[in-house]
């Protein structure tokens, strides 16, 4: 008798149970031939499907459960951060000094972002939570969390900007800029015998005062390198003292390019700090910046 079954039966049509000697129906085999009628069953019954959307049954609801706070977005942000913290609070952390240094948005920037009048104290609470989340060890930090924290970071990371290291160029020159009062000096330093040119002229022609000449080259003098370097300086602005001091700073910076280890010595010599003093403006009611006219009883 030919089998009407779509699959091939490899052994007897019925098997005998060893215990009760009853006949059992044949077991379906794993090897099947492709059925002749190819069809797929109907999809399962959808008991959960909703009727199509009907605008006649509309009602107005708040877009956020924080509607009545007056600041829904910032409140929702804070709540989501707290939820993240609760979820990940058992992850290992690092001490605050070892956590990555991140510049979080300022209060003003956050207010612009959310468009709400957020209180500074409230925003500091958000920052506290972010700093705790940031302390999670980087090797176990979940990607979802780092994505959530990204919104609160400043667009431009100030810590990512690394100063370009100043180097001696292929012609053996080191460059340094110095400023004092309203003078600005560009100083080029090369290995040499100790020649100095300021604006193309000899230093004796430019600075009549010995004090100015000495202070201009104070960086080299203090470190006993007067005969080791040649100085080419371009100075503009200000007067003699200002220009001389500007050259001091410029030479010191250029010298630090050649010999970075000289920095503490130059600092002790007073060549490293840019003197921020400027001429104070005259004020109304005063004769000069500070001088007042003589006091009259009546």
């Amino acid at each position: 008798m030919t089998s009407k079954l779509p699959w091939r039966v490899t052994y007897r049509l019925s098997t005998q149970c060893p215990r009760c000697l009853s006949r059992l129906p044949p077991r379906r085999t794993l090897q099947t031939t492709t059925p002749k009628l190819a069809f797929t069953a109907a999809p399962p019954v959808d008991l959960e499907s909703l009727p199509p959307q009907n605008a006649s049954n509309a009602r107005i609801v708040p877009a956020s459960p924080s509607y009545f706070t007056g600041r829904p977005d910032s409140t929702d942000n804070y709540l989501s951060l707290l939820a993240l913290l609760r979820r990940y609070q058992t992850l290992p952390t690092v001490p605050p000094a070892q956590a990555p240094r991140i510049a979080w948005r300022t209060v003003t920037q956050y207010r612009l972002l959310v468009g709400e009048p957020v209180r500074a104290s409230k925003y500091h609470k958000i920052i506290e939570v972010l700093q705790r989340l940031n302390r999670i060890h980087p090797s176990v930090m979940p990607p979802e969390l780092s994505g959530a924290m990204q919104i609160y970071k400043r667009d431009v990371d100030p810590h990512a900007t690394v100063r370009k290291p100043l180097v001696v160029d292929e012609d053996g020159r080191a460059f340094g800029v110095g400023r004092r009062k309203s003078s600005s000096a560009k100083v080029y330093l090369v290995q040499g015998e100790g020649e100095v040119l300021v604006n193309g002229k000899s230093i004796n022609n430019v600075f009549g005062r010995i004090h100015d000449r000495e202070s201009a080259l104070w960086a080299l003098k203090a470190t006993n390198r007067m005969d080791k370097y040649n100085v080419w300086a371009l100075v503009t602005g200000g007067g003699s003292t200002g220009q001389a001091e500007a050259i001091t700073l410029g030479t010191a910076k250029a010298l630090m390019v050649f010999e970075p280890a000289l920095k503490p010595a130059l600092r002790r010599a007073g060549c490293v700090t840019r003197d921020p003093r400027r001429v104070e403006r005259k004020k109304p009611g005063h004769v000069k910046a500070r001088k007042m006219p003589a006091w009259v009883k009546r």
């Binding site: 909703l50 509309a58 009602r59 877009a63 459960p65 509607y67 007056g70 829904p72 290992p92 709400e116």
Partner: protein, 361 residues
Amino acid sequence: MIIRKAVIRQGCHTRTAPTRPWIRSLATEVDVQSIESSLDNSLKQTKSIESQVQNETTKLVPIIDSRTHSTLKLLEDKTAEKYKQLQRHKKLTNPLGSSIAPHYKPHLLVNHPPQPSEITLELLLASQAHLGHRTSHWNPLNSRYIFGIRQGIHIISLDVTAAHLRRACRVVSGVIERGGLVLFVGTRPGQDRCVVKAAQLAGGCHLFERWTPGSITNGHQILGNCKTKIVDEFDRDIPGYDEELRDRPVLKPDLVVCMNPLENWVLLHECSLNAIPTIGIIDTDVDPTLVTYPIPANDDSLRCVQVIAGVLGRAGEEGQKSRREKAMQGNVTYTPIVLSERVSTKGAQTGGSAKDIRGPQ
């Protein structure tokens, strides 16, 4: 203290001759005699020995990178591996040992609050709902809720509390069943979690920080920038009516549930001016006429507040479920708003204004 007890237990010979390495480490600065005499002195001196010992030992300070403030090789210190090992170990050892059941788990009150059907006097007693204030601070209007006096404080009748709480649950579920908006308010520290959870369950709004006075009476000014949306009977968003929403007045709650009415009397006054019914936890020193449906209970106990907020949230959840079931049967329980500009839902998917979607006419 610990050092002293250990020494006494060991016996005299230990006291006279301390162990060699200990002497050597302290030999340069502290002599044995002074240690012995300080052991008889106060804790302050003992602590100084600890600090001296600590100063002697060398501490390794990790090198910190100045820019990123991370130690070198932070990603290579095998913390991830150790954490995974810990997780595996916990998984293996958690089922071991004795299980203490049933015991109070504080987080369950917030994360899985009790149902209104689970309100029992035992639950209210355990959450300190019966503790009122000092008898001299009472409000005589509350006399009907007070059971008696014990140790100088008023004790609230828990059967009265339970009855009022069940009534409040019925009110909350009834309002939500009819498409109402419920606002849960709890402004004391620690009440934020239970209030947010209750609002989430009931599909309402929450407030856990200071109520801005005028949010109802001057709503246009204060809540004018807060977004609203249009939904249908199944809470599905109907987009494309942004322009219309901008012209609509600001929303007001249909019911306010307040956990600390004494601090939020301004909110409750605004509600009374706008005919908004209120529910509140009334302690023995609070005026019960501040709210429409008082629940005499202890508003100072966080656990009590969590129970009440949780139960009301669950009642709201039941109301939402009931409303949805009725909507499935075609019975819309609220009065729908009339939208002036009819827009087809297909075109509204662009999210623009109604005029843009309709196109030039």
